[in-house]
């Protein structure tokens, strides 16, 4: 058992007043003093751009980094369906309490009550802020904001901009960031990748070592506090809906420097993606969950039925989500919809050339509301589907299959979003904080922006006001040492005379993790995976071939470094999945299920956050448990039937 002394720093008092009273008690940095502090923000997605912009507005000196050539390209841009909010514009009973409850339940009772409540509380302000920035949300004919429904809920609380909500919210945050760059409060380093974290002699996070991806220069940046908003690690699976560049290097380097990692096995497999078609495939394309508002999911009732979908009569179709989960139907949560699709395909009812696909059919909705209305709601998604598959979803049902999409696990943070390293904060998907074992649709954007606009800018001040920081310069030995470690690692990769590319190894790693630590997991499979990944990881360092130099734009070197970190993280995912002997949310252990195949949670033994850290010798991962207390919701079996 691990020895971490975890204090989540949850404020006292009633749930509904915790954040308010915390805000009024928090230490502040006066406006005049803020410019004396340098805040390093890594990542420019929703959480990173929002935090950097807001801290810049407050007067801090901000350095912001992203690996893309422009902050506007961070992968938040690809989020499609929408953003949740507790605003009750539809008068359908949407409240802060209900959003809180839905999120806790959706996460299968594996998230902290206080964090989730705060998220729900802040969600209304987020919409206000974005509208004020000029984010063009969908509106009705009265000129007021429109909303729609998403999986796992029975109200329409999701604000959206067609199927491009992430893009519009990111461009809003990017515009706020651009304003601060012009004002000189934020200095932007695009095409820079963080390769290590600098921790000073007092154990505080003080900076990063980055590589300029264009020129290859390795450089250290020193500040007073470091915020990681570097996204999730779904690319462990090689094939996922994430952008090709998404990686875990920043959070994994932080882990190696002492930041604890929480719930690494909590990964989300999104039910509606375009199925895999061949070995050459480099990524999977998501079809927004919002499509399940109007699309009905089905497979043929007869196994191996090869007739074209439109020739299969109504009574020979199995609308399996509506059949199994009548009260939520096609809008049941992601983990449940994914497993149900897998179950049908494994049983031989899958469609498409591979048999790993189910239909998402819009025929009924088109008949009801018309093709134009459907085009208005999802036009860009339908076009994208047609471009990729050569099939027109207005005429033929889409074929979909689950794919890795989001990781609920991430760096452990306290209520202030600080990791176990003082001065190192984590926001957005990079932390573990709000989604428990399964994230509800349209909640990632909400969390990224809540962290970035409203939480981090306050809690950073609290930390800085109370921290006595020692002097540190880029000449300090701890900085030089970290820099040298980074260079050595790059040299080791470059000087290797192997025979296989890093991507080739990555594909093999991805298959192992997908098969054994994907939609369903078993003790035997996980043990096997741990051995296979460790062996393959050893071979990686012997047999990878990178080529080129470190002093130039070298995309193969970028990939090689990221894949090396995925190997280590993949082992921890499997170890965590093996240790958690229950099924909850996205974590489905075959040994723990009910007679009708539903997840069987074990609240007696596993109502905790699994927090992993390296031992003193930096060799062994140790587990510490943060118990979860539920004082405001009664923990129940999660049913969407």
């Amino acid at each position: 058992m691990g020895t971490l002394n975890l204090d989540a720093k949850i404020p006292d008092g009633q749930l509904a007043t915790k954040w308010g009273s915390h805000k009024s008690k928090i230490k502040l940095v006066s406006p005049a003093n803020r410019k004396k502090y340098t805040v390093i923000v890594v990542g420019s997605g929703l959480a990173g751009a929002a935090a950097a912009a807001t801290l810049g507005e407050m007067g801090y000196n901000v350095l912001c980094f992203c690996y893309q050539d422009s902050p506007r390209r961070a992968h938040s841009v690809a989020a499609q369906g929408g953003i949740n909010s507790a605003k009750n514009y539809k008068n359908d009973g949407n409240t802060v309490e209900r959003l809180f409850y839905d999120t806790i339940k959706g996460g299968d009772y594996r998230a902290r009550e206080a964090n989730v409540y705060r998220l729900a509380e802040l969600s209304a302000n987020i919409i206000d802020q974005c509208v004020a920035q000029g984010v063009p949300f969908a509106r009705d004919y009265a000129g007021l904001l429109d909303t729609r429904s998403f999986g796992g809920v029975q109200v329409a609380r999701t604000f959206y901009s067609a199927g491009q909500t992430g893009q519009q919210l990111l461009l809003g945050a990017y515009s706020a960031l651009s304003r601060q760059i012009k004002a000189g409060t934020v200095k932007m380093f695009a095409a820079h990748e963080m390769l290590d974290l600098i921790v000073d002699g007092d154990g505080r996070a003080r900076g990063i070592v980055s590589r300029d991806l264009r020129g290859g220069e390795i450089k250290s940046f020193i500040g007073d506090v470091v915020i990681l908003c570097t996204g999730g690690y779904s690319n462990v699976y090689y094939l996922s809906t994430n952008a090709k560049g998404c990686n875990a290097t920043a959070i994994w380097r932080a882990f190696k420097k002492g930041a604890a990692f929480a719930n690494p096995c909590f990964t989300q497999i999104h039910p509606t993606c375009i199925p895999v078609s061949g070995d050459y495939q480099s990524k999977l394309t998501l079809m927004s969950e919002s499509l399940r508002n109007d699309g009905r999911v089905w497979v043929p009732k007869k196994a191996g039925d090869k007739r074209p979908p439109n020739e299969i009569p109504e009574d020979e179709r199995d609308y399996f989500l509506e059949r199994r989960y009548p009260s939520f139907g096609n809008l049941c949560p992601r983990d449940i919809a994914s497993r149900a699709a897998k179950e049908r395909c494994d049983a031989g009812f899958g469609v498409g050339s591979t048999g790993f696909g189910v239909y998402l059919d819009f025929h009924d909705s088109i008949k009801k509301v018309g093709k134009d209305k459907i085009a208005e709601r999802y036009g860009n998604l339908f076009d994208m589907y047609k471009e990729l598959t050569d099939e027109d979803p207005y005429d033929v049902p889409m074929r979909i299959y689950p794919a890795p999409h989001y990781t609920m696990g991430g760096l452990w943070v306290d209520y202030n979003l600080m990791t176990t390293i003082p001065g190192l904060f984590a926001g957005g998907e990079a932390n573990f904080s709000d989604h428990g074992a399964n994230r509800l649709g349209a909640s990632a954007l909400m969390q990224g922006l809540a962290d970035g606009y409203f939480i981090l800018p306050l809690t950073i001040g609290d930390y800085l006001a109370g921290a006595k920081l020692s002097k540190l310069s880029t000449e300090s030995s701890v900085v030089i040492d970290t820099e040298n470690q980074v260079k050595e690692r790059l040299n080791r990769l470059l000087s290797n005379k192997g025979k296989r590319t890093a991507s080739d190894f990555h594909r093999e790693l991805g298959r192992i993790v997908w098969d054994r630590c994907g939609m369903s997991r078993s003790a035997g499979g996980l043990r096997e995976a741990i051995k296979m990944i460790s062996d393959l990881g050893d071979r990686y360092w012997r047999d990878v071939l990178v080529g080129g130099t470190a002093f130039d734009l070298n995309q193969q070197l970028e990939i090689a470094g990221r894949v090396a970190d995925f190997f280590e993280l993949a082992v921890l995912m499997c170890v965590d999945a093996l240790e958690r002997e229950e099924s909850c949310g996205g974590h489905f252990r075959e040994e723990y299920q009910t007679a009708d195949g539903e997840a069987l949670r074990d609240d007696k033994n596993f109502s905790h956050v699994s927090v992993w850290s390296l031992n003193e010798a930096n060799e062994q991962c140790e587990l510490t448990k943060e118990p979860l207390k539920f004082e405001n919701v009664s923990v129940a079996t999660r049913s969407y039937k």
Binding site: T54, S70, A132, G134, R139, R214, Y280, G547, G548
Partner: protein, 257 residues
């Protein structure tokens, strides 16, 4: 499928570039264009050659990273399709395919197919925002926005900032990009207070960045993978003239718009 690729290679921005020929075979028609380049690059790495550098990230047509001219057309032959969404079935088996970087004075070449598009970021920084600090917003439904304006604003905002418009323009103009951003904000009441300043500042920045002027070729619209219309360019011209007039004659002239 088999292809003969003619790819622009350039080690550094200031070095001499040239076309290199590559043969690639056994490509599945459903392979995407960038996956085809991945396959080529893995082969080059194994052969000890320098792989082709190209920008890419989301591979679903929304991040705007991918930026290559394919057979003389930015993003390739299919309309409304980014290079990352282009499938090899769009080409004839055995075809020769010419692949080049964006060619524009304002987008200097970094390496091979990678160009420096940071000029777009600087145009945005000149005024592509609403000056509202976090926390200062009123309730989101306080100001209704006519649906037509909101929809048009969204349409303008769907620009992905890839730069195909600049690459397609004989003058290397960034008018479509700039116009789309100005339109998005000036169509909304939230963007109205700064509209004059915004139009002037963004156009001035665009001119400083070595982009050419617009002479109404319309190539930008034809190349735009997001179908951004050149109507926004005429809107920008009106916006700019109104703003200039307002600057010179004071408030009276602005009543026209």
């Amino acid at each position: 499928m088999n292809f003969k690729l003619k790819i622009w290679r350039q080690k550094l921005g200031n070095s001499q570039g040239f076309f290199s020929d590559y043969l690639i075979s056994n490509i599945d028609p459903d392979t995407s264009f960038l996956e085809m380049l991945d396959i080529l690059n893995e082969q080059l790495v194994i052969q000890g050659e320098d792989p082709v550098a190209f920008e890419h990230d989301c591979r679903e047509g929304i991040c705007g990273s991918c930026s290559m001219t394919i057979n003389g057309r930015p993003h390739g032959p299919n309309r409304l399709t980014t290079a990352c969404q282009l499938k090899m079935r769009s080409f004839a088996d055995g075809a020769e395919i010419v692949i080049e970087p964006w060619r524009a004075k304002a987008f200097p070449i970094v390496k091979d197919l990678v160009t420096d598009r940071s000029a777009f970021d600087r145009i945005q920084q000149a005024g592509g925002y609403v000056s509202v600090n976090t926390g200062a917003a009123c309730d989101a439904n306080t100001i209704p926005v006519e649906k037509e304006s909101a929809d048009l604003s969204f349409y303008a905002a769907s620009c992905i900032g890839c730069g195909a418009c600049v690459a397609a323009c004989p003058n290397g103009s960034a008018m479509l990009f700039t116009a789309a951003k100005v339109a998005q904000l000036s169509l909304l009441p939230q963007g109205a207070p700064e509209r004059s300043h915004r139009a002037i500042a963004m156009v001035e920045r665009m001119d400083q960045e070595n982009f050419g002027g617009c002479t109404n070729h319309g190539e930008c619209q034809a190349a735009c993978p997001k179908d951004i219309s050149i109507r926004f360019i005429s809107d920008l011209n009106r916006e700019f003239i109104t703003a200039q007039a307002k600057k010179i004659y004071g408030k009276r002239a602005s009543r026209r718009s």
